[in-house]
Symmetry: C2
Subunit: 122 residues, 2 copies
């Protein structure tokens, strides 16, 4: 039940900030990034995000991607387990939508030097 993203935002790790990153933290962050690092999945996120209600079902996504339905379901599963998508089944259809701040969280994890509290000063 992972939503791997949630598991790593809790302890508030600082990936590329100050101290060298820990092995376990690196693996968690890499896991989430690995979910993003795929053309099909990036397009899925983009398609869902730009859909009418911000949501889309599998049948709407297979055609634009040019991939088979099982393959699309597979990618959606990867994204969901990574904590980037949430699934809601209404009737026969399964609607997917972006987890609100998920991607922004990843972006923040990559850019820690944005703050300037207590600078080292030369």
């Amino acid at each position: 039940m992972g939503t791997a993203l949630a598991e790593m935002t809790m302890p508030q790790i600082s990936p590329l900030g100050g101290e060298p990153i820990e092995r376990a933290d690196a693996e968690r962050l890499a896991g989430v990034l690995k979910a993003l690092a795929d053309p099909a999945r990036l397009r899925l996120l983009s398609l869902i995000q730009s859909a009418p209600e911000g949501e889309a079902c599998v049948c709407d996504l297979t055609a634009p991607l040019g991939l088979s339905q099982p393959t699309v379901s597979h990618h959606l599963r990867i994204l969901t387990e990574a904590g980037l998508l949430e699934r809601e089944k209404r009737g026969v259809w399964a609607y997917y939508r972006l987890v609100p701040t998920a991607i922004a969280t990843i972006a923040d994890l990559l850019t820690p030097p944005r703050k300037r509290a207590g600078k080292k000063a030369r």
Copy 2:
């Protein structure tokens, strides 16, 4: 040529912003993210960034990672070709350092809904 990052920041693609992402853009962005989506490479970036002068040579990185020297060189090559690291050879040593705004650029590519009209009021 390389520095895949530069090739995609030039045309100013909009990854997860408005219109559905194009296939070519998705593949470019996925390529850069794939370079990041590895525990060893994340740790390399972290180690280099937190090194004394913000730079480090291969011999300083093999031990903390617990990987062989060829493997470390391999990862450094991946990161360099992705545009995340820059290499400078001084004498026998090869010093690597982060490309200043590279990672921040990736983060920006992931967060389009953020206002970018004026200053960043953060």
